[in-house]
Symmetry: C2
Subunit: 263 residues, 2 copies
DNA sequence: CGCGCCCATATGTCTAATCATAATCGGCAA
DNA sequence: TTGCCGATTATGATTAGACATATGGGCGCG
């Protein structure tokens, strides 16, 4: 069950108390310990010295050490239990997180020119098939349906099909989406959003293939995002990427922690 | 650009100082403010009272309030800048995180019986094509190559192709994978792992389609995971899911935060 | 009127101290 | 030997106080 060698009381490797140059003290400590763990110098399951001793070794107060250890625990690198002390966490599952980023940023980051081309827009009553995009029936009210193409260097990059709740996102009927993307506009117009995502692989239909300039049946990455605000649905969108064009990438440590920025 | 109504100094809604029942004080405050934000009562961009005032209203010290606000800022709900004070964050991008979970857990959670069927295993010198799975050349040493099928109720669920570094993962040549999955075995045998993931949509080749009992060319979700330990590659794996079978789901708040557990 | 300096201010960080909580360890008794 | 119970101990939470730092706005000078 357990590897042959597993130390029990690791030393805080190369951590001379006065050797930091930038950042705050507990940030420095967090980075130091994180590297010790990721590099394998502190294997999972190994016991850390007690808080007071670590604080002494790093030359900080127990509170500062506590903050650093608490952060590492919150990020999934450490497991802390009363009395038992602090241990390096075991990698729990082959889980990961994948970031889905904004399309415009994505295109621009790849050094290509971004453009959005609105293909169609209609205001119509909600239908039953809309539930596919929204997860639930849109209700009796009117919805705004639209379809557009995200272009990278004027070549198709992603096909967007979207439903907007005009009751919440006013102006959706009037908004000109020739330059601004519906997503970007909504982000500015709607107060808040909680969303759920679904990622699948699908074969391109004839219509989709034509718009994306693909062969019929080519594998595409489908991302469906449903956004809510204050309990009401705001928008449902289906993004279709050619499989050859797009990929989701994640680099991560033990659990999922760390995250994008760190403040 | 901005919504018509946007309060500037919101009140800490239903937060009487003595009305908490469980959890710690700053956890309670975090939950309270989070709900205020998610419910839309504190719209993005609105200014919060200063730390000292909030601390007074909640009946805690500034340190505790600071901890709560710092946590909310770390999770992306708030933006804090010196002098300017604390504001509710604008939803910055249409970004999300998607969790990739362990296959066995995944199958079992869907109520089906899980089984792994090893198709082939070979120990051979590293080749140049292995870089596709590992990101870099495997070096001069020997590698263990294997292919197997994850079955749900004895029907193909996922095709796994894997390379293992036997120098690190000893026993890879001898291990019997008829019941235990290679991924599960590696997690127990190898001390630590840092991994990178890539998710794409691909069309099934003839060989893949036959193994997964699909039509040739059917869209599949491809997940490539490269795992390292102590700077050395441990394993590279390619998981191929039929697009109709598999989907990745994410539910999330404003940025990516919140995460799995919080305690 | 415009530019730049200065300071009030709000957050950021850190400390020492105290109380709370939980879990382990060891002793004691049945 | 076994089981229970309390003492020990390590983390967790919280507080008041102090200093650091950045910055936005006001004020003065050119």
């Amino acid at each position: 069950m357990s590897p042959p060698l597993r130390p029990t009381r690791p030393e805080p490797g190369s951590a001379p108390p006065g050797a930091r140059k930038g950042g705050t003290r507990h940030d420095h400590i967090v980075e130091d310990i994180r590297s010790l763990i990721v590099d394998g110098r502190w294997p999972p399951g190994s016991q850390l010295p007690v808080e007071t001793e670590l604080a002494e070794r790093y030359g900080v107060s127990r509170m500062t050490m506590n903050k650093a250890l608490g952060q590492l625990a919150r990020d999934g690198f450490l497991v802390r239990r009363k009395k038992s002390g602090t241990q390096v966490a075991q990698p729990r599952a082959e889980s990961a997180v994948v970031a889905i980023v904004d399309i415009r940023d994505e295109v621009r980051r790849s050094g290509r020119a971004y453009r959005f081309h609105l293909l169609a827009r209609r205001a119509r009553p909600g239908r039953e098939e809309d539930a596919l995009l929204l997860g639930a029936a849109p209700g009796v009210g009117e919805v705004v349906w639209l379809q557009g193409l995200h272009l990278a260097d004027d070549r198709p990059f992603c096909l967007e099909t979207r439903l907007i709740n005009p009751a919440i996102a006013e102006g959706a009927k009037a908004q000109d989406f020739t330059d601004l993307t519906p997503g970007g506009w909504l982000l500015g117009a709607v107060p808040w959003s909680v969303a759920s995502h679904r990622v699948r692989a699908v074969n391109a239909t004839a219509a989709e293939a034509k718009l994306l300039e693909l062969a019929v049946g080519e594998a595409c990455l489908e991302i469906v995002r449903r956004t809510q605000a204050a309990g009401e649905w705001v928008t449902g969108v289906r993004l279709l990427y050619p499989g050859s064009e797009h990929q989701l990438v994640a680099n991560f440590g033990p659990e999922a922690g760390g995250g994008p920025g760190r403040g």
